[in-house]
Symmetry: C2
Subunit: 144 residues, 2 copies
């Protein structure tokens, strides 16, 4: 059975607390604040376990590595800021998109990613310099 370790708890908590999808590297950085010697292999192993658990959800954006977020959310999409690269949840959805596909194709699912500038970057520096790129410590608006 599955054991409760400091590492696993730190990793799960990091993702729960983030409020936005985190990359494995970001998860490591945040979880290391709780567990000093935490290794990347442990992060990857636990991400996989927590995914199977459905404790967390996988977020895949086009052309970017995997991110992970709390699986509490229902169907939603994502917004990536072109300045700070952070990803935010978008809880609006245009609904059924099956009419977009070519005739004869069956559509079961869709993914939508919006790109632009987030609130922080728009106000902080309109189209100029950006907030910190790792941005692990920020808890910006998530659009809930």
């Amino acid at each position: 059975m599955e054991r409760s370790t400091r590492q696993r708890t730190a990793i799960r908590d990091a993702i729960e607390a983030a409020g936005r999808p985190l990359s494995p590297q970001e998860v490591l950085e945040v979880a290391r604040l709780q567990v000093e010697g935490l290794g990347m292999a442990t992060v990857y192993r636990n991400l996989k376990l927590l995914l199977d658990d459905a404790s967390i959800a996988l977020v895949q954006l086009p052309g970017d590595g995997p991110r992970y977020e709390s699986s509490v959310h229902d169907h939603h999409h994502h917004f990536q800021c072109k300045q700070c690269q952070r990803v935010f949840d978008v809880h609006q959805c245009p609904g059924d998109l099956s009419k977009l596909a070519p005739p004869g194709f069956s559509v079961e699912r869709h993914e939508i990613t919006l790109y632009g500038q987030c609130k922080d970057c728009l106000s902080a520096a309109p189209a100029t310099s950006a907030p910190s790129k790792s941005a692990v410590h920020n808890h910006p608006p998530t659009g809930h």
Copy 2:
């Protein structure tokens, strides 16, 4: 300036002729039919050059490696078949999605990916076995 080599021509032609986005591996396989000893490094280098040229366009689907297609197309989206994994163009678009983003965010661009079953897989084997996975030689409907 840029030279016209057998390799470059074979790579460009492979992408033009495909009618759907190809992975670097698929490009290599197709282009090798024209140029025997073609190496992967050459494929990658030329993909980059042709991208700069805007001769080809980069297609990024969530959680998948890069694909490349002829840049002749205008704004469009993509459909990935969950059986054969091939990607097809979708020329319909729901239009402006900026109202989906959280307030205070500015939306400049969007990506949509549809998932389901393509015409071939639906008719060939309704929800059972799939056509060849590399599928480099097929030219299925592209939804134009």
